[in-house]
């Protein structure tokens, strides 16, 4: 069934179709319509889910850590300061190997106060041991949630599904909503390996000495290394069942291009149009959409960039003192490779400023016209 729904409604449908057992969340703009929608659905009796309406995001994640240890499927959603407030518990969820799924609606972090989109919230959590998946449109939001549970429960790591504030969260698009009967065989019930059991008492998250701690972290890294293969298998199966798939990255535009434009989130949607237009004007350009940020798809990217001379990256985030985080990750992943195209790191759209077709074209043209970037950070649309 096709319905015209917002990104946040797509999240709610994803949660329902995933037969989530326990939700725990705290309201924050622009995530709020997710928890409102879910509250309505639970109140109407359509879901057997327990919704813990906790007093903070820290407690939201802590409650899910309890529930997930108890052996049931869990969900939460947040944004910005809420995600930052959860930080300690994000480490705990991955360290305890709990397959929790969290939706983060990308929003800038203050001060100054700002409720609009940028990726500084989710990217600040890049080292917490969470898988991170970014979405381009509302269909992808719904589909990614269904896939996220499969990946999380397979590798025993939590997954963060990320969508842009307002551009997706509050914007309506046509979304194909699968039926429960279609989703159930794709996403069977969660079968935890070690749920809490008084017949077989176990201690969870026990203090671990230097003698063993390193090995616990090694296992998390190994689980992360399984993600590309597991996620591909899940995506392939999803594609065969629902005729839609996403991959870790997606290349579009010219087959052989001198310039590649790398984007994530909704900027990709705009870039598709810009790139098509520029190709028609004779620019040798293609686009790469990065969906999976953690684990970083170095292999997948390297395969797709062969032959390109320059990579333009548009970052809707800033790690002050370094620059854009996607650009930084890309540079690091290319360093050990034989072929290393020049990386042009653009920063744009912080705090929800529109990344317009004109700005994207400016980035591509700059990259086209310059043999190398004149500065480490190239600001798009900066008022001087």
């Amino acid at each position: 069934m096709k319905k015209v729904i917002t990104g946040n409604q797509a999240v709610a449908y994803g949660v329902i179709l995933s037969r989530v057992d326990v939700i725990s969340a705290y309201p924050i703009t622009p995530q709020t319509t997710i928890v409102e929608e879910l509250s309505e659905l639970i109140a109407s009796g359509r879901l057997k889910t327990i919704f813990l309406k906790v007093e903070s995001e820290h407690s939201a994640m802590a409650a899910l850590i309890g529930a997930s240890t108890g052996g049931v499927r869990c969900f939460t959603a947040t944004s910005s300061h809420g995600l930052a407030y959860m930080h300690e518990m994000l480490h705990w969820a991955s360290g305890a190997r709990l397959p929790i799924v969290l939706v983060n609606v990308n929003r800038a972090i203050g001060p100054p106060w700002n409720i609009w989109s940028d990726q500084s919230d989710s990217l600040s959590q890049r080292d917490t041991g969470w898988i991170q998946l970014y979405c381009e449109n509302n269909q992808e939001v719904l589909d990614t949630i269904l896939q996220a549970y499969r990946i999380a429960e397979s590798v025993k790591l939590p997954v963060m599904v990320v969508l842009d504030a307002y551009v997706l969260s509050h914007t309506s698009e046509a979304v194909e909503i699968p039926t429960m009967e279609e989703v159930d065989p794709f996403l069977p019930p969660y079968c935890p390996e070690y749920p809490i059991d008084t017949q077989e008492p176990m201690a969870f998250s026990v203090i671990t000495t230097p003698e063993y701690f390193l090995e616990f972290r090694y296992k998390i890294q190994k689980a992360m290394e399984q993600v590309p293969e597991v996620a591909k298998k899940v995506d392939d199966e999803f594609r065969s069942r629902f005729s839609r798939g996403y991959g870790a990255i997606e290349r579009y535009g010219k087959k052989e291009a001198e310039i590649l434009l790398m984007t994530s989130g909704t900027v990709t949607g705009t870039s598709r149009i810009v790139i098509q237009k520029l190709i028609e004007k004779g620019v040798s350009v293609a686009g790469i959409k990065i969906k999976r940020f953690r684990p970083f798809p170095s292999e997948e990217i390297y395969e797709e960039i062969k032959g390109a001379k320059k990579l333009a990256v548009i970052d809707r985030n800033l790690s002050a003192g370094v620059g854009g985080i996607f650009a930084q990750e890309l540079r690091a992943s290319l360093y050990s490779r034989g072929e290393r195209p020049q990386v042009f790191g653009f920063i744009s759209g912080l705090g929800g400023r529109d990344i317009t077709p004109e700005l994207i074209e400016e980035a591509v043209r700059y990259t086209w016209e310059h043999p190398q970037p004149e500065e480490e950070i190239l600001w798009l649309g900066l008022k001087k």
């Binding site: 057992d21 326990v22 407690s59 108890g70 300690e88 008492p201 026990v206």
Partner: protein, 292 residues
């Protein structure tokens, strides 16, 4: 001689790491006797994060979920929800938190859970300071007490936070104080709490030999003197309004309680007098609430 009513089951194994004379070890042993095997225990950061032993061992014979410092109330809420989803309404969820994890850093999560009347027993193992990190002051540290962050030249200026009043004002079904010198009383309160659903709160005073600077053989004696001096009165509160006070027949001046503890050895007579007056005022306040 009266026969003891304390159950013989032992769910605290050998080889735990508590200090000699640790009040919290006696407290945990009694708690486990009361709770029985059909219990999950949440332990936010506290002495008992360490005492059960390090991976891959545990000296507790029930499922234990070690949890973030702040999260006692929240983690327990989540576990309860998971058990309910699994159709297991029988298994009891208990939280064992220190005074730091209850009075201070964990108060928000506990308040949130109590307001939702989450179905668990919350035991605050109160040793009146951050003892696991080497005796720093908490809001449960008594007035004028020495700690490493309230040195004798500048001891704690403020009285101990009244956590029972805070919990009672959440109108939870049951709250009670207890301490290890009165094990039958503690077990009776635990049994009573276990028959009730909703948030139940036990404020359990556990003397700490290194933190209170007391000889390890005096733990029980000091626990008893805390009650006899009315520094730590024993009482119960049902639904936030119905108080039951236990009258102590052998009342002693606070000096009897304070003089055995190195953390109070710097006190002047006038400071002891201030503490005595505060104890009197606290008692008046409690009596007023109890409607006596």
């Amino acid at each position: 001689m009266r026969k003891t009513e304390i159950p013989s089951i032992e769910n605290l194994g050998h080889g735990h790491l508590a200090c000699a004379g640790c009040g919290a070890a006696v407290s945990m042993r009694l708690t486990l006797k009361a709770l029985g095997e059909k219990t999950v225990m949440v332990i936010p950061a506290s002495c008992w994060s360490i005492i059960p032993g390090s991976w891959p061992y545990s000296s507790l014979r029930i499922p234990v979920v070690h949890a973030g410092f702040v999260t006692g109330g929240a983690t327990a809420s989540g576990i309860r929800a998971a058990l309910n989803i699994r159709g297991d309404y029988e298994t009891l969820v208990a939280v064992w938190a220190g005074d730091g994890g209850t009075f201070d850093i964990g108060l928000q999560a506990l308040s949130g859970a109590a307001e939702r009347n989450e179905d668990f027993i919350y035991i605050c193992n109160d040793n009146e300071g951050y003892m696991n990190t080497g005796t720093q002051r908490s809001s449960a540290t008594p007035m004028f007490a020495w700690t490493t962050t309230t040195p004798v030249m500048q001891p704690k200026e403020n009285p101990k936070k009244d956590i029972m009043a805070i919990m009672a004002d959440h109108q939870i079904p049951y709250a009670a104080t207890a301490t290890i010198a009165y094990p039958e009383d503690f077990l009776r309160k635990m049994k009573k709490a276990m028959k009730i659903r909703g948030t139940r709160f036990i404020h359990l005073l556990s003397p700490c030999p290194p933190g209170w600077k007391i000889p390890s053989e005096l733990t029980i004696k000091i626990s008893r003197l805390a009650v006899r001096s009315r520094v730590f009165p024993l009482y119960e509160i049902e639904n936030g309004i119905s108080y039951t006070l236990q009258e102590e027949s052998h009342v002693v001046p606070v000096k009897e309680y304070l003089k055995l503890q190195g953390r109070f050895s710097h006190l002047t007579d006038s400071e002891i007098e201030v503490i005595q007056e505060n104890v009197g005022r606290a008692r008046e306040r409690l009596m007023k609430k109890a409607g006596d």
